[in-house]
């Protein structure tokens, strides 16, 4: 009797879920996404840039950090990237209460862009790249909890020229050459959970684009996993996987 009830509940749930999916038109959604992307490709790519950016403060006692984004950047798009952090001022060094100041920055480019242009009969030329730079200020509010805030400037440039126009989900594409640049305000909180393991949550706001974003991440000595949320973005939720080393 109990087994039958469970089976019935599962069947009803599946049918209802199937009904809900019937309203979803994949082609319409893809066309909407393509329109968003093609209207400003660099703004779309800036979200991937944010995925690879190193915008958490350096751990206490560390001076330099290097980071490279693994997913969704190097894998699968070959967006090779390097980010760095340098501690300009340890907390309380110049005067008591003065926050830790970190310089952050990074650069990325599409590694296979030349190969893509050479090997693809549709594409003449493609170039995707970007950089960012900024400052983070971090203060301890308890031994294991720190708050941080900062400013960063991000710039993304993308260009592509096709041999002949193509249509992707009813959106005609011939060529594009666009640049996205914005200044972001960052605010976040970081907590050390155990030795060399942290949890962090941050929000940033593009002062020019007026777009908010949020990031939740967990990181250890070498790897960071997180979830970036872009409420106004093409892909709202983006899981992130980064590799970093600190000295």
């Amino acid at each position: 009797m109990k087994k039958n009830s469970v089976f019935l509940a599962l069947l009803l749930t599946t049918l209802l879920a199937g009904g809900a999916r019937a309203d979803f038109n994949f082609d319409d959604k893809m066309q909407e996404l393509m329109t968003d992307v093609m209207s400003n490709p660099s703004a779309f790519l800036s979200e991937f840039q944010q995925d690879m950016e190193a915008t958490t403060p350096l751990a206490p006692g560390k001076t330099v950090a290097l980071q490279t984004g693994l997913f969704p950047t190097t894998i699968p798009f070959t967006f090779t990237n390097i980010s760095g952090k340098y501690m300009l001022h340890p907390e309380g060094n110049w005067s008591p209460g003065m926050p830790q100041i970190d310089l952050i920055g990074g650069y990325w480019g599409m590694a296979w862009s030349g190969l893509l242009a050479n090997q693809n009969r549709y594409i003449n030329d493609v170039s995707l790249s970007g950089y960012y730079a900024g400052l983070l200020a971090t203060s301890s509010i308890s031994p294991r909890l720190r708050v941080f805030g900062g400013l960063k400037r991000s710039r993304v440039h993308s260009s592509m020229t096709l041999q002949q126009p193509i249509t992707v989900y009813n959106v005609p594409v011939n060529n594009f050459d666009s640049t996205f640049m914005d200044d972001f305000v960052i605010a976040g909180v970081e907590q050390e959970i155990t030795l060399d393991k942290w949890w962090s949550m941050q929000v940033d706001y593009g002062t020019g684009s007026k777009n908010p974003a949020a990031k939740v991440s967990w990181y250890g000595k070498n790897f960071e996993v997180g979830l970036n949320i872009y409420p106004e973005g093409v892909i709202t939720f983006q899981p992130v996987w980064n590799f970093h080393v600190e000295f």
Partner: protein, 245 residues
């Protein structure tokens, strides 16, 4: 007639302050506390605002505690059954000895080439620029170090055989030595330990007064959390996730 008298009082006050500014001073204490004001003096009952020069020592017994200040604005709180001494106290060098018991240090800011060290039977702990930390030690060589803010370098007195004898302990971390010739254990403080060590250790404070500032901060954090939670409840539905509404 009044002016010379006033000037004499001001001069005396300034001279007293200048003299106090060069030495460690026993600011306050609670219970039976004994001190040696210098190397050549004998133990005597503590008196408030007494200068402790190089070679001087202070010790507390069960139920007593004390607060000592240093010319560089550093402060030392002694818990019960603690014993410490001043080996050196110069402009750019403060070298202290912790013989036994538990003490808390707050070193707000050191000059560029200034040295601040605390030696125990097992190690020498030094502050790079600023730190707040708690140490406990026994004469047999057991030692614990909890770093609340900043960083402390711990150098073993007897070099370790298989690993670096210099340990960098940063805020939130603790290091425990059970054998002065063996590597210790590095670990994170838990919330209860953190709360206990962050209390105001100033003598004469009631239990409520010791945690008053922490309670205020906890209230502020709770307000922030509540605000974040209410903001998130507005933010999530804006993404179209009505299920979370």
């Amino acid at each position: 007639m009044r002016l010379p008298g006033l000037l004499a009082i001001i001069s005396l006050f300034v001279a007293t302050q200048a003299a106090l500014a060069d030495d460690a001073v026993l600011q306050s204490f609670n219970g039976a506390v004994e001190m040696k004001t210098s190397k050549d003096r004998d133990w005597e009952p503590a008196k408030p605002y007494t200068r402790i020069t190089e070679g001087g020592e202070i010790r507390t017994v069960k139920g007593s505690n004390a607060l000592v200040s240093f010319p560089n604005s550093a402060q030392l709180w002694m818990a019960e059954n603690a014993h410490f001494g001043i080996e050196e106290n110069q402009d750019i060098s403060t070298r202290l000895d912790l013989y036994s018991g538990r003490v808390k240090f707050r070193v707000p800011h050191l000059a560029g080439d200034e040295i601040f060290t605390v030696r125990t039977t097992a190690s020498v702990c030094s502050v790079a620029r600023n730190a707040e930390f708690v140490m406990s030690a026994t004469e047999e060589g057991e030692q614990s170090l909890w770093v609340l803010f900043g960083g402390v370098q711990l150098q073993y007195l007897v070099p370790l055989k298989d690993e670096d004898s210099l340990k960098n302990i940063t805020q939130g971390q603790a290091y425990r030595i059970t054998d002065p010739e063996q590597p210790g254990l590095l670990y994170m403080m838990n919330a209860d330990t953190e709360r206990g060590l962050l209390q105001d250790w100033t003598p004469h404070l009631s239990r409520r007064q010791r945690v008053a500032v922490m309670d205020l901060r906890a209230d502020n954090r709770k307000e922030m959390r509540d605000y974040a939670k209410s903001s998130a409840m507005h933010f999530v539905p804006s993404l179209g996730l009505t299920a979370y509404r």
